[in-house]
C-alpha cells in the first residue's frame, strides 16, 4: 500500500466512502495511469491563514470554514475527480486523464470557488483565500503516488510562502506560479510570450474593473444611513482629508530639506 499513512486521511465530510476507501481509489487510479499511460494531476489545497482565523474566531469557525470550503471545492470539480481530506485541514484532489494545462485551470477553479465564499463570524463578514500545490505527470511516469503527494505539498508550501491565494504548479522539471487568478505564462507549447503577457495584463485590468463594480454594487445595495451615521461619515472624511494633507506636507518638507541639502552641496 506504499508509505502514505492511512491515518492522514480524515472523514471527507459526509462522503459516500470512508477515507481508506478514497485513498485506495486514488492509488488504483494512479496505477492505472502508469499502466495505460494517461496523464494525471494531483493537488493539495489549504485555506490560507486558517490558524490565525481560528485564533480570532474560535475552533467552531475553523470547522465551519473548512466544511464550506470543501463543499465549494466539490462544486468546482468534475464528477470523475476524487477528493479526500488530509489531516492538518488540507485537501487532496486527484484528476485522472488530465494534462498539465487543464490541471492548472482546474486548480484555479478550486481556488476561485473557495475565494467566493463569505462567512459571518462575530458579526463580521469575512472572505477566505486558498493556496494550491499542483503536480502534473505525463502518462507512464514512474513517480509513485506518495512522491506526487509530497511534490504537491511542496507546491502548496511555496504558494503559502509567496503570500497565498495562488497556485504553484510543479511538474516536468518546471515550476509555474499564478496569483489572483492570473494564469502563469505558458513556457511550453509554442505560445507567443508577448501574447500571453498582453492577455495577463488584460486579465489584471478586468479583475480590477470587477472589483470596482463589486464595490459599487455593494454601495448601491447598502441600506440608507441614518442622519447621525451620515454626519459621522462626513466627519470621518474630513478627518481623512486632514490626515492626507498632513502626510503630504510632511513629505514635501522632507523633499525640500533634501533639495536644500543638494543645493548647498552644489554651492560648496
Amino acid at each position: 500500500m506504499g508509505t502514505l499513512d492511512l491515518a492522514r486521511f480524515e472523514d471527507a465530510d459526509g462522503g459516500l466512502f470512508g477515507p481508506a476507501e478514497i485513498e485506495r481509489f486514488m492509488r488504483a487510479e494512479h496505477e492505472r495511469a502508469r499502466r495505460y499511460r494517461f496523464p494525471i494531476v494531483c493537488c493539495v489545497v489549504a485555506v490560507d491563514r486558517l490558524d490565525q482565523l481560528q485564533d480570532l474566531y474560535g475552533v467552531e469557525a475553523r470547522a465551519e470554514i473548512m466544511k464550506t470550503a470543501v463543499r465549494a471545492m466539490r462544486g468546482a470539480m468534475r464528477d470523475s475527480d476524487l477528493l479526500a481530506r488530509l489531516s492538518g485541514d488540507q485537501v487532496l484532489i486527484f484528476y485522472a486523464h488530465t494534462g498539465p494545462h487543464t490541471g492548472a485551470l482546474l486548480a484555479e477553479r478550486v481556488r476561485t470557488a473557495v475565494k467566493k465564499q463569505r462567512f459571518d463570524l462575530d458579526g463580521r463578514t469575512i472572505k477566505v483565500a486558498a493556496s494550491v500545490g499542483v503536480v502534473s505527470v505525463e502518462g507512464g511516469s514512474s513517480e509513485s503516488f506518495d512522491v506526487l503527494v509530497a511534490l504537491a505539498h511542496d507546491g502548496l508550501r511555496m504558494a503559502q510562502k509567496a503570500g497565498g491565494d495562488r497556485h504553484v504548479e510543479i511538474g516536468s522539471g518546471t515550476t509555474q506560479e499564478s496569483l489572483e487568478g492570473t494564469p502563469a505564462p505558458l513556457s511550453a507549447g509554442g505560445v507567443d510570450a508577448d501574447q500571453v503577457d498582453k492577455l495577463e495584463r488584460r486579465l489584471a485590468r478586468l479583475m480590477s474593473l470587477l472589483d470596482d463594480t463589486e464595490a459599487a454594487l455593494r454601495r448601491a445595495h447598502a441600506p440608507v444611513a441614518p442622519v447621525a451615521a451620515t454626519s459621522e461619515a462626513r466627519e470621518m472624511s474630513e478627518q481623512k482629508r486632514e490626515l492626507m494633507r498632513n502626510i503630504f506636507e510632511a513629505n514635501r518638507e522632507l523633499r525640500q530639506h533634501r533639495d536644500g541639502e543638494d543645493e548647498s552641496e552644489l554651492t560648496t
Binding site: L53, D55, G163, D165, L254
Partner: protein, 344 residues
C-alpha cells in the same frame, strides 16, 4: 519615469519595506512578498553559473555562497554605515524588484506609499525616498504602524504594535497624525528572538551546528508563548550527523523575551495619554507585523497588561504580513491626485 505616457489610470502601490520581508499590495490586485535579501554574484564564475546580475529573496538566500549578500534594511532602516553605498544600491534594487513584481503596465504611472519605521531618522527617510524615486513617478512615506491603523479604519484611540524583524513600532492613534511623542520604536522584535534562541541552543544543545538562517526557520515554524505548546523537535547536525533536539522550552523562552519590552512601551504610551481616554486606549491594542504570528502572543501581552494596568484587550490583525502594505495602498488610493502631481 516622468516622461512616459500613461497607458491607463495610475497604478497605486502600498509597500511595507521590512527588515525581514518586503511586501507590496497593488491596485491591480497583485500582492507579493519577498525576503528582504539582495545578492550580487561574487565573481565571473558565480555570475555565469547563476545567469543573473542580481538575485532577490529566497533565491538569494539559497545561493548565498556564490553571492555578496545584503540585508539592506537590517534594524529596520537602510544601513548606511558599513558598506553604505552597497546597501543603498541593494535597497534601490529591492524596491525596484518589488515594484516590478506588482506588474505595472509599461508606461503606466506608478504612485507608491512606503511604510517606514515610526522613528526613522530624516537621513534614513531620505535614503528610502531616493531609492524609490528611480522606479516610481511619485512616492510618499508614512509611518508603518500608522498605515496599519489606516488600513483598518481605526484612527481613534488605538494603539498599534507592529512587530517586525528589526524593530517593534508602537504608535497611538487619536484621530490626527501621530507625533514623535505618540511613537516608540524598540529592538525587541524578531531578530531579538533569533539572537536569544541562538544563545539558548548553543548553551543547551551540546555540539549542535546551526546558522542564523536555520534558527530563523525553526522560529518561524515553532514560535509560541503558550504554556502548552506542541513539542518543538528539531534535527541539527552534530559532527555531521543529524541529531534530534527538543527545544520546546528554549523557543518559548526566546519568544517570551520580547513581551516585557513591548508591555513597557504600551504602558508608557497609555500613561502619557489623556487620562479620560486611557481605558479606551488600552482596550484597543492591535498586534501587527510578522512577529504577531507568534502563537499566544496576544493573550500573553493581554495578561501582562491586566497585571500592570488593571485591564487591556489585545487583538491580532487578520493579515499580519500584508497589514502594512494594505494600509499603505489604501492611503495611496485616498491621496488626492494633485498631491501626487506636486511631489513628482
Amino acid at each position: 519615469m516622468s516622461n512616459v505616457q500613461s497607458a491607463s489610470g495610475p497604478l497605486y502601490l502600498g509597500i511595507d519595506l521590512g527588515t525581514s520581508r518586503t511586501s507590496v499590495a497593488a491596485s491591480n490586485g497583485v500582492r507579493e512578498t519577498i525576503a528582504s535579501y539582495v545578492g550580487y554574484p561574487k565573481d565571473a564564475i558565480a555570475s555565469k553559473k547563476l545567469g543573473k546580475d542580481v538575485l532577490y529573496g529566497d533565491e538569494a538566500i539559497a545561493n548565498r555562497l556564490s553571492l555578496k549578500l545584503y540585508r539592506p534594511l537590517a534594524h529596520g532602516v537602510i544601513q548606511t554605515d558599513h558598506e553604505g553605498s552597497e546597501n543603498v544600491r541593494a535597497a534601490t534594487d529591492l524596491i525596484k524588484e518589488i515594484i516590478q513584481r506588482a506588474r505595472p503596465i509599461p508606461g503606466q504611472k506608478v504612485y507608491a506609499v512606503i511604510g517606514a519605521p515610526a522613528q526613522a531618522s530624516l537621513h534614513n527617510k531620505q535614503a528610502i525616498l531616493d531609492a524609490a524615486r528611480e522606479s516610481v513617478n511619485s512616492v510618499m512615506l508614512c509611518s508603518e504602524p500608522f498605515s496599519v491603523a489606516y488600513g483598518l479604519d481605526m484612527l481613534d484611540d488605538v494603539l498599534v504594535v507592529d512587530i517586525g524583524a528589526g524593530t517593534t513600532d508602537l504608535c497611538r492613534m487619536h484621530g490626527t497624525m501621530p507625533e514623535d511623542a505618540d511613537q516608540i520604536t524598540s529592538t525587541f522584535a524578531g531578530d531579538h528572538v533569533d539572537a536569544v534562541l541562538m544563545d539558548l541552543i548553543s548553551k543547551h544543545c551540546q555540539g549542535a551546528q546551526f546558522t542564523k538562517e536555520m534558527v530563523k526557520t525553526i522560529k518561524e515554524k515553532h514560535a509560541s508563548v503558550l504554556d502548552q505548546m506542541p513539542a518543538a523537535l528539531v534535527k541539527l547536525p552534530v559532527a555531521g550527523k543529524p541529531t534530534e533536539f527538543d527545544i520546546t522550552e528554549h523557543v518559548k523562552t526566546a519568544c517570551r523575551s520580547i513581551v516585557p519590552g513591548i508591555v513597557d512601551g504600551i504602558q508608557h504610551l497609555v500613561a502619557s495619554f489623556d487620562p479620560e481616554f486611557q481605558d479606551r486606549l488600552k482596550g484597543r491594542v492591535l498586534l501587527a507585523g510578522g512577529g504577531s504570528m507568534i502563537r499566544g502572543l496576544d493573550h500573553e501581552i493581554e495578561k501582562a497588561l491586566q497585571e500592570r494596568l488593571g485591564s487591556g484587550r489585545v487583538v491580532r490583525i487578520e493579515e499580519p504580513i500584508y497589514g502594512g502594505a494594505n494600509g499603505a495602498l489604501k492611503l495611496a488610493f485616498d491621496m488626492p491626485t494633485e498631491y501626487w502631481e506636486q511631489l513628482k
